[in-house]
């Protein structure tokens, strides 16, 4: 296998989309003729007895699995995704579910860690969505989605197990506490141990 074929094999493998001949020439810094010969060599390497093939498709070249293997590779797709909710995601979801709508800085303050990447991933996964900015401006706020309700078996938004034992103190904590009581998540009269 020529060095050029090796390079092109690696490039076709990594590229998420077909690579045009001219793109390949630019990357490997070779003439179209040389790249064509390397592609032919690669086609022979990935012959019908192998699992992959080189295909000329959609204006370029791509490496793909052979058609006869579809039944097997489809089983990879049919596997339930391991889309587990990580501890970080769970904690963020809990904060949003109980206090929505709530902004990233507010979630961060309560959790004590930066939540930017967690929130982005929960948005991507459809478990959180944007809930607009407060009327007086400020940071974007977030709420949980219908998908979240389905996933956690909730009948409707806010259908959450009640909390008890609110212990945090301080101005921010007082706001959170009132919010939880108003939403019915925290029994009335629960307060910091040291009542004033």
């Amino acid at each position: 296998m020529s060095e050029l074929s090796r390079q092109i094999e690696a490039l076709l493998f990594l590229s998420p989309e077909p690579l045009a001949l001219v793109t390949l020439c630019e990357i490997v810094e070779e003439s179209p003729g040389a790249v064509q010969r390397a592609l032919t060599e690669l086609e022979e390497r990935h012959s019908p007895e192998a699992g992959l093939e080189v295909a000329e498709i959609a204006g370029g070249f791509a490496l793909r699995t052979r058609a006869d293997l579809a039944p097997v590779v489809d089983r990879l797709r049919d596997r339930p995704s391991e889309d587990r909710v990580s501890p970080a995601a769970l904690e963020t979801l809990a904060v949003v579910a109980y206090l929505e709508p709530i902004s990233r800085p507010q979630i961060s303050r309560l959790r004590g860690v930066s939540v930017d990447s967690t929130v982005v991933s929960l948005l991507d996964r459809g478990l959180l969505e944007e809930a607009g900015r407060p009327p007086d401006g400020g940071a974007m706020r977030y709420r949980t989605t219908r998908l979240f309700q389905e996933r956690f078996g909730l009948r409707k938004a806010g259908d959450l197990p009640p909390l008890e034992n609110f212990e945090l103190t301080g101005p921010e904590a007082e706001r959170v506490r009132r919010h939880l009581i108003e939403a019915g998540h925290l029994p009335e009269g629960e307060g910091p141990a040291d009542d004033e």
């Binding site: 990879l76 049919d78 995704s81 909710v85 769970l90 809990a94 197990p161 034992n165």
Partner: protein, 239 residues
Amino acid sequence: MSPPDALRQPIELDLFEGPFDLLLTLVLRDEVELLEVPLLEVVTAALGERARERWDTDTAGELIVLLAAMAELKARRLLGEPGEEEPDPDTLEARERLAARLVAYAPFQRAAGWLGERGRDCAGPRYRRVALAGAAPPPPPAEDAARLREAMLPLIAAPPAPSLSHLTSRRVSLPAALARLQSALARARSVSFDALTAGLEPLEEAIALMAALELARRGEVTLAQPEPFGDIAITGSGR
């Protein structure tokens, strides 16, 4: 004009990842006695503006005890005083703790080295991170709403005893101590160390002593201490 003394040992402080990295490397390096470490630079690197990460407060405290003890010994050497028979038990205990922490830290310093080499060896391969195309996979397993409550409860509970590790107890500036001493010497030919450090915290006192030692090393002052633990007279060399 700097004398080629051991205090000038070239030590690139920027190359160290923290006090433990530095101390451990120095202690295990045969040719360097801890006493010959440029204390001034160590402390500046630790607490000064160039420090990349704040030192953990406990560590800084333990280290200051050690540095102060070393400064004391250096002072005795410079003044030609004989060594004191026994340091006080608290100091000894703090140093035992520091030694234990250095020993605990050591394996990770070396593991980081191993990891670095491994990372270099494994930097080449690239993975195909193309998401699976086709129909959406079956939904992920259902979750229990009770887990949300469990995740929320610790967040509205009173936090454990507050950690002060993010606070630096006191910003101590060696350059400032040096400047203060130099300006005192500009007004008077000789300055009393006790007068100079009256009312200061022990840590600030230690820094002031290091400043005096540094000036002595540069040949700008001479130090005289008539009796052990007595006052030190800092006299400008009149240049």
